[in-house]
């Protein structure tokens, strides 16, 4: 598979205003329908599918949630969620 391992970072490491392409959502228990399944499904239902452009607008202070723009909609993501979404920064 063509997995661009090196540039893959969680959304939380992006700077405010930076745009990246979603590569994967890491769930707690890997494959199958575990606890993380519904969580990943929900994010994808909101448009965070692999290959989608996502912009981190800003993050709230003291490790607060992130505000992201994806497919024209503005979504608030708790830090715990954002840490599990991996993306590749556009050059």
């Amino acid at each position: 598979m063509n997995k661009p391992e090196k540039a893959e970072v969680p959304l939380t490491s992006l700077r405010d205003g930076e745009t990246a392409i979603v590569t994967s959502i890491k769930t707690a228990c890997g494959k199958g329908r575990g606890r993380g399944w519904g969580f990943a499904k929900r994010l994808m239902d909101l448009g965070l599918t692999p290959g989608t452009r996502v912009t981190v607008v800003k993050s709230a202070p003291f490790h607060g949630p992130l505000e992201i723009l994806v497919r024209g909609s503005r979504i608030a993501l708790g830090r715990g969620v954002a840490e599990r979404i991996f993306a590749e920064i556009e050059k």
């Binding site: 598979m1 997995k3 994967s24 707690a28 494959k31 329908r33 606890r35 519904g38 969580f39 990943a40 499904k41 929900r42 994010l43 994808m44 239902d45 909101l46 448009g47 599918t49 692999p50 290959g51 989608t52 800003k58 709230a60 202070p61 003291f62 490790h63 607060g64 949630p65 505000e67 497919r71 024209g72 909609s73 503005r74 979504i75 608030a76 993501l77 708790g78 830090r79 715990g80 969620v81």
Partner: protein
Amino acid sequence: MTEKKLVFALAGNANVGKSVIFNYLTGLHQHIGNWPGKTVERAEGTLHFKGYTIDIVDLPGIYSLSTYSLEELVSRKYIAVERPDAVINVTDASVLERNLFFTLQLIELETPMIMALNQIDLAKKKGIEIDTRKLEKLLGIPVVPTVATKGVGISQLLEKTLEIVEKNQTAKGKIRYGEEIEERITKVAEMVEKIQFWYPPRYVAIKLLEDDEEITREINRIDPQITRAAEKLAGEIENLHGHSCSTVITSERYEAAGCIARQAQKIVTPTKPPLTERLHTITTHKIAGYPIMASVLLLMFYSVFTFGNYTSELISNILYGWKPFFSSVLGGGIVEKLVWGGIIEGLIASVTIALPYIVPFYVILYLLEDSGYLSRIAFLMDNVMHKIGLHGKAFIPMMLGYGCNVPACLGCRIMETERERVLAAFVTTLVPCAARTVIILGLVGQFLGFQWALTLYVVDLLVIFAVGRLAFKTLPGEPTALIMEMSDYRKPHAKTVLKQTWFRLAEFIKIAFPLIIVGSFAIKLAEILGLLEPIAAVLSPVTVLWLGLPAITGITLIFGVLRKELTLIMLATLLGTTNFAQVLTPVQMITFTLVVMFYIPCIATISALVKELGWKKALFITVFEILFALTIGGIASRLLMLVPT
């Protein structure tokens, strides 16, 4: 034309103006209840149009038709099993792509449907122009542009919907997935066609490949061969793409939605960001966001309490003005005592909380919600709430709790999981409501000074934090993180806000009024029968020995179950003075107030808890809080003794 009955369902994402359309269509002919056996709200209304009686069912606002949440499950089942005559898909024109993702799933359900392309005025402001003709062609369903808040396009929407019903038109279009997926969908669909099932075969096939929990379970019961085949085929897709099959299908569906959106819309980004955008930036700003939030909340509390105190007094004066009239009719004696003291005073008590405090609270809250500000507050408060295992949204019911715990408990429905609803409801009952505020300010604030009252509030916050954290650590399960859309700010729609308020008020009246009245009656009866003194005596080991309070406070604590501020009124009556400094020591005042703050949610709150969480959890919370309040009170009285005053 004969009077014919039809059912239309409104379906769409949250915050697209669905409820505005619903209100517009049905006016006051609405009925709000729950889906059978679920805590998901079901709103229904009726309208008459062109000789038809049309039932409108407002489905919950959702983003998908998978089974992530109860709302999604309920909606999907409703459309597939109960088969409404038409589904009206309400969409937000300014976020077309994401809305189309849901539309495409509805189309897969092969139901007669139409799209209301709503908020086209807001989209225009953002520089988005949509070619509805093209959209109709691409989707294969009629599309009607609407501005629901102004009533634009609504009658056209109804006419078009009737048209598709009369022509018996179902959604024709379908998305084509990639060849390798289509091939496998067809294979599964062919197998599904042979069995009896309420969803369309192609839909079932797609859902089986997506490993949808409900459908896989149901099909497995009918013919496990099909699920096994689907699992194998899904594995093949997974190997081809390197992602799970459900990810691949979701991606492709979004691709299709994006493709349609790009073809149908033209975006010209305005040179200057629109006002709503600038408002968003400042209200969620790292620094400025917090003082703005604090000011909004303070203003809200201040206006609610000012309005509440004034009106509450006014109403109770008017109602108590009827006392002589009742006395003359009932002629004094036991009957008068029971009817007046029990039933009517109970009624007055209910009215004087409900109208003056709860109504303005709801109005302001729904104004904030409808405008979009509540989601910004949730964003700002998220990390604080995380400390007690909740996320930002839980701050909203907690805030409501400062007005009255009953709507606050009902408001905990906005939390996603059962675990969070329990946690949020529990924490919420510890928030000092308006009635408890009366005691804190009226007893401690007045006689010991404002700084002591403030200290109690701080103690309360600390307790909420500590107990919340404890509950969070002990309750099994993982906390859910915040995933929330922050839709653009918009002007709140007055009618919708008022209607929401009205329905919530009706709910409160239904829950609380009977209980408060019956409770008042029972206590009055006990008083007449002379049972209060013995009860106080029974309670005295706790009140006198452990808490160090006068024995009669036991009686007042019983009254407090009905309505917390009654404890203070009763205390005055029983002690024969309103100058509490003469009869209570400062330590006793603080102990008493602490106990009242925590000891039990009032009877109306308990019933709200029963309604939302079931009686077991409600009982547990109640018992816990009684024991907790007594513990805190006892410890505080001993500690405070050590403080030189």
